[in-house]
Structure formats: structure tokens, C-alpha cells
């Protein structure tokens, strides 16, 4: 395992100052010794998460990354209240989390817009069911959120008329319309093609800049994590443990041109060293066959 130069730890003074300020901000989410074990009859229990602890500060954008099966989606579902933990506790603004609630918005990987509602009505859904706003107020707010994600023109369209990227932007607007304390994003751009995903990442940073929101972003894409995050939680698989919390030294504002900057590359290299060696070893376990022509060596 080649360990890269530890330059991913080197932070420019303004980046260090920004992290210092960030740590001064109030804690929005505190996760303590969180464990989740799935048990199915006749099978050994799966330890999706084991004693994971971390804190998210106000308006922090944190990515959670790890190999498949490391329980990163489970972590998002636990915080959202869609699953019950088997151990540990989660505090939102110091109060324990029990079950799902409108104080934690979520954007899923699969498209979850309600197909029977127009785009505008989808964004209004949370405001309407909570009864927090009158119908007219809800409509006004929903229009504002649609404008924020640049989809005002499509207010009266139905979800099936939108592209995948547009659907996810509406989903973000729908989640933000509730004014949640934090936004959970479970591989929201995973189903999109590479170009659209890149656009969506820029959209997200733009939105995050304008809205007071703490984001926990689950991804398996290393570039995405480095591009978006303040800090990256790196999880291990089987059992799912928190391996490292990494501060991303890439200065903000972020842009696609930073992909080739040394800070970006060293951060990315470090993540790769943490995650990929195990993934690459899999191929070595395959038996050797010689089915190709000897004179036709691909390498």
C-alpha cells in the first residue's frame, strides 16, 4: 500500500482559519456510538455500523464515503429516522432523534417525486401536510424554492416530463421548502450521467451558499466528495466503522477547474489509498485462465 505524501493535511492559512471558524459554530447533529446490526433468521448478523461517532456543525457540508456495504446509506436512513439504531444515540440540536420528521429533509438516489402531483404541488407537499402555512403561503414559498433551483418554468409540469437532473433539483427544493435543520442526501446524483452529475454538484454548492442548511451527503464517488465537502467521513466495510474524518484542504469557492490542483489531487489520492486497495485486491482472487491468443497480449 503506497502512502501518498501527507500533503492532504496541509492547509492554506485561509482554509485553516475557515475550519477554525467552522468548529466554533453550534453543533447541529451529534452522533454517539451509533450501531446498526441487521439480523435475519438463519444468517449471521450484519454489522452495518459499529460505534460510529461524529458531529456536524451548522452549515457544514459533510460527505460520507466508503466501499459498498460500509453502511453509509444506513447512516443516512438512521439519521432520517427511517431505521431504528441498535445502539448509540443521535441528537439533533441536542434533542434525541426518534422516527422521521420534517426537521431532517432527505433526497434519495431513486426519484421520489410524487408522480400524481405537478412540480409545484410536489414542492408544496411538506408545507401542506404540516399545516405550517396556508395554501396561498405554501404556493408562494414553493415558487420561491423552484426559482432557487431554476425550475420556475416547470411549475405546472408533471415529474415524468422532467429529466433525471431536473427531478433531483425539484427533490432538493421539496426537501428545503420545509426549512429543515439539516439535509440528508443519499447518493442523490448516483443515477445521473457524468455531465449532469457535474452540473448538479455545482447547483448544489450554489444552493448551499444561499441557504442556511447543514448537509450530510452520502456518495461513493471520490471526486464528488472532495469537490463538495468540508469534511469527509470515511467508513470501513464489514463491520461499518468510522475509519477517518478528513478535512478537505481545497479552498472555497470550489469550481471544476480545481480538479487538477495539488490540494484536490492529494486529497483524492489519500481517499483512494484508504478505500481502493481493498477493492482492487478482489481481481487477484480470480483463478487464472488463458483463453486469449498468446500473441495477442492486451498489456
Amino acid at each position: 500500500m503506497s502512502v501518498a505524501a501527507s500533503s492532504h493535511l496541509e492547509q492554506a492559512p485561509e482554509v485553516r482559519a475557515r475550519f477554525d471558524r467552522l468548529k466554533q459554530r453550534p453543533v447541529i447533529l451529534e452522533v454517539r456510538d451509533l450501531s446498526k446490526t441487521f439480523t435475519a433468521a438463519g444468517r449471521p448478523p450484519t454489522h452495518a455500523l459499529q460505534r460510529v461517532s461524529f458531529q456536524l456543525h451548522k452549515r457544514e457540508l459533510t460527505c460520507v464515503i466508503g466501499p459498498s456495504g460500509c453502511g453509509k446509506s444506513t447512516l443516512a436512513r438512521l439519521v432520517a429516522g427511517l431505521e431504528e439504531p441498535t445502539g448509540g444515540e443521535m441528537l439533533l440540536d441536542g434533542k434525541p432523534i426518534h422516527g422521521p420528521g420534517s426537521d431532517r429533509g432527505m433526497v434519495f438516489q431513486s426519484y421520489t417525486l410524487f408522480p400524481w402531483l405537478t412540480v409545484l404541488k410536489n414542492v408544496m407537499f411538506g408545507l401542506e401536510v404540516s399545516g405550517a402555512a396556508s395554501s396561498a403561503e405554501a404556493q408562494g414559498q414553493a415558487k420561491m424554492w423552484l426559482e432557487l433551483v431554476g425550475l420556475s418554468k416547470f411549475a405546472s409540469a408533471y415529474p415524468h416530463q422532467l429529466s433525471g437532473g431536473m427531478k433531483q433539483r425539484v427533490a432538493i427544493a421539496r426537501a428545503l421548502a420545509n426549512r429543515p435543520r439539516m439535509l440528508l442526501m443519499d447518493e442523490p446524483f448516483g443515477a445521473l450521467d457524468a455531465q449532469t452529475r457535474c452540473q448538479m454538484q455545482s447547483y448544489l454548492l450554489q444552493i448551499w451558499k444561499q441557504v442556511d442548511i447543514t448537509i450530510m451527503f452520502i456518495t461513493h464517488d471520490l471526486d464528488e466528495a472532495v469537490y463538495l465537502a468540508d469534511r469527509i467521513l470515511v467508513l470501513d466495510a464489514h463491520p461499518g466503522r468510522l475509519r477517518e474524518v478528513m478535512e478537505v484542504a481545497v479552498p472555497r469557492p470550489r469550481g471544476p477547474d480545481q480538479f487538477l490542483e495539488p490540494t484536490f489531487i492529494s486529497a483524492r489520492r489519500h481517499l483512494e489509498d484508504l478505500i481502493h486497495p481493498r477493492a482492487a485486491q478482489v481481481a487477484d482472487k480470480l483463478p487464472l485462465f488463458h483463453m486469449a491468443d498468446a500473441g495477442d497480449n492486451v498489456e
Binding site: F125, A175, N178
Partner: protein, 354 residues
């Protein structure tokens, strides 16, 4: 070149689709015409035109072809005048033109006996029985089915018994229904109810279970209560599928009608058909049967069309007749949302719905 039609799930051009739709009706009718109008196809009988010296024959009588030639052979042996006749089909297979005539004149022909109902009265009676049976079943069955599908505890409590009960043939309850509800229409409605209800609950609960759980989770993270989950996510999420189920179930209700109407005092279209069969007016029997089919077909087409109006999110660009009509009455054409490609650079996906 191999025809594209043999490829599984091959798409059809609109033209081919229309042609095949028409052919599915035309082919059986042509077969029927061939059997009726081409003497060499079947025609196992002889219709006597001139009885000759055969004592028991009269003009117009239908005689089995073998019996006819045996009789003529006997007459020929006595050197008498042979009977003359034309090949014909049995009385229970009338020719298409006779059935069409019966269809056209069906509503204007008075009943044979004055106390019998007219064709339209019989049909109307049947439609009412179906309507009430299906309505009562749906009022209870649809909400119960949705609850059974949405709430596993509810489904577990209800469905095993319904599963058992649905195997009991509805007509088996005929005698019981008559004993409890008398001999008029109530037991007939009850049979339609029994025949529909148990299937309905199971079919609808199964449909409800197919809702995408991610939609429920999304709604929960938006603050939806459990009641809201059912009323504003589950119900609208499965309503289009349930609507399709209901169209299929309505067809089943019609199949129970014939049995139901034999219970107690026979009535409705079943009574009408039975009476016509007694009078050996088989062209009117066929006409009545075809009428039932037509009513079913037209109902289904209307419901399908209505469905496209009720569920606008299933439509793509094309506007349905109902909103076109409403737009016309309001004196304006409601602009359909026309999504264009946007900053994504990605073309909006059009989900084509059959």
C-alpha cells in the same frame, strides 16, 4: 426478411395496431359468415321446401341430412315423389344477417306475451342489478383492500379468511340468499356482491402493496403523519392501478349476472334470453348475447377514456377529449405544460404510457 411481429414485445405502428384491432372482430365474423353462407362448410341439416310424398314433412321443417336422404331413398323405392330441400344449419346457429336484423328490430319488437318485458326493459333491469351489486361491493371492498395492502397487520387479519371465502362459488349462496332476502332483486345483487367483493379486496390489496416504498419514506421525511401517508401517498399512488383493476372486476361482475338472475324470480336479460330460446328465436338469443358484449366493450372504452381524463399525470402531450371539451366551453385552449430542454442540456424524458 423476417417479419418484425415475431420478435417478442415488438412495437406496433399505429396503423398496424388499428388494423389488428379491426381484424380481431372481422376474422370471427368472417368465420361465422363462412359457416352460415357456404353450404359445403358445415350445413348438417336440410330445410324442406317441398315435402313431396313424405307424409311427416312440412315446408320449412329442418331435418337431419342423413334422415332426409334415408326418407327420400325409401320414397324413391316406392317410386313416390321425393322431398326437396336446401342444406341448412341447425336452428341454434342463425346466420349473421338474421342476428343483425334481430339486433336492429330487437328494441321495436313487442314481447311474445304481453306480461313479458321488452328487450330494453330486460337490459335495464340487468344493468341495475350489476350497478348496485358492484357499487355496494366497491364501497366496502376498495377501502378495505387499500387498508389491507397498506397495513400488513390489517391484511394478515383479513386476507386469509377472504382467501378461503373467495373459493366458495358465489352461486352456491343462491338458495341462502333467497331464503334471507326473498325472491326479487335483493338476492341477485347479493350474488354479484359475493362474486365481486372477495376478489376485489384481494386484487386491490395486492395492487396497493406494489406502491414504491421510497415514496412513503420521502413523504415521511417531509413530515407526513401516518394518516397522511395513506390518504395523500398510498391512495393517489395506486389509484390508477386500482382503476384498471376495477375495469377488470366489472367484467367479472357481468359473468356473475347470468347466474344471479336465475335465482328466485328469473329476471333481466337472462330471463329474456331463456324466453327467446323457448320460442326457438335463436337469432334473438344471439342478439342479446352480443348486446351484453357490446355494453361491456363500450363501458370499458368509456371508462378507459375517462381514466385518461381523471389522471392527467399519465398523459404526455396529447390532450384528452374531456379537457378539450372543458377548454372549449370556457372559450380558451388550456395550454398543456410543454417542457423544453433546459440548462441541464438533457432532453426531458417522455414516458409513453399505453
Amino acid at each position: 426478411m423476417r417479419g418484425a411481429w415475431s420478435r417478442p414485445l415488438a412495437g406496433l405502428s399505429p396503423r398496424a395496431s388499428t388494423t389488428l384491432w379491426a381484424a380481431s372482430f372481422i376474422v370471427p365474423v368472417l368465420a361465422w359468415c363462412a359457416i352460415s353462407y357456404l353450404p359445403f362448410v358445415w350445413h348438417p341439416m336440410v330445410r324442406v321446401t317441398d315435402p313431396g310424398d313424405v307424409a311427416w314433412m312440412t315446408p320449412g321443417l329442418l331435418v337431419d341430412r342423413a334422415a332426409f336422404s334415408a326418407e327420400n331413398a325409401e320414397v324413391a323405392a316406392r317410386s313416390g315423389r321425393p322431398a326437396v330441400g336446401a342444406p341448412a344449419n341447425p336452428v341454434f346457429l342463425p346466420a349473421p344477417h338474421a342476428v343483425v336484423r334481430a339486433l336492429v328490430t330487437g328494441f321495436t319488437t313487442p314481447p311474445v306475451r304481453p306480461e313479458e318485458p321488452w328487450l330494453h326493459q330486460s337490459l335495464w333491469h340487468s344493468i341495475q342489478v350489476i350497478f348496485w351489486g358492484f357499487l355496494l361491493s366497491s364501497i366496502i371492498g376498495v377501502p378495505l383492500g387499500i387498508l389491507c395492502g397498506a397495513l400488513p397487520a390489517m391484511g394478515r387479519l383479513t386476507e386469509p379468511f377472504i382467501e378461503f371465502f373467495r373459493y366458495l362459488p358465489a352461486p352456491a349462496f343462491g338458495a341462502l340468499a333467497v331464503a334471507v332476502m326473498g325472491i326479487e332483486d335483493a338476492p341477485k345483487v347479493a350474488i354479484i356482491f359475493i362474486g365481486t367483493f372477495f376478489q376485489q379486496v384481494l386484487v386491490i390489496s395486492n395492487t396497493t402493496r406494489r406502491i414504491d416504498p421510497a415514496l412513503l419514506e420521502a413523504a415521511e421525511t417531509l413530515g407526513a403523519s401516518r394518516r397522511v401517508l395513506i390518504t395523500r401517498v398510498v391512495v393517489p399512488g395506486v389509484i390508477t392501478e386500482i382503476y384498471t383493476d376495477m375495469r377488470v372486476l366489472l367484467g367479472w361482475a357481468w359473468t356473475y349476472l347470468i347466474v344471479a338472475e336465475l335465482i328466485g324470480v328469473s329476471s333481466g336479460i337472462t330471463y329474456f334470453i331463456n324466453q327467446q330460446a323457448k320460442y326457438r328465436a335463436y337469432e334473438r338469443v344471439f342478439a342479446s348475447i352480443i348486446l351484453i358484449g357490446l355494453i361491456g366493450l363500450v363501458t370499458d372504452l368509456v371508462l378507459a377514456s375517462l381514466g385518461r381524463q381523471l389522471f392527467p399525470w399519465l398523459r404526455t402531450a396529447r390532450r384528452g377529449w374531456f379537457s378539450a371539451l372543458v377548454g372549449m366551453l370556457r372559450g380558451r385552449g388550456a395550454p398543456a405544460p410543454a417542457p423544453a430542454s433546459n440548462a441541464d442540456g438533457a432532453a426531458p424524458e417522455e414516458v409513453a404510457r399505453a
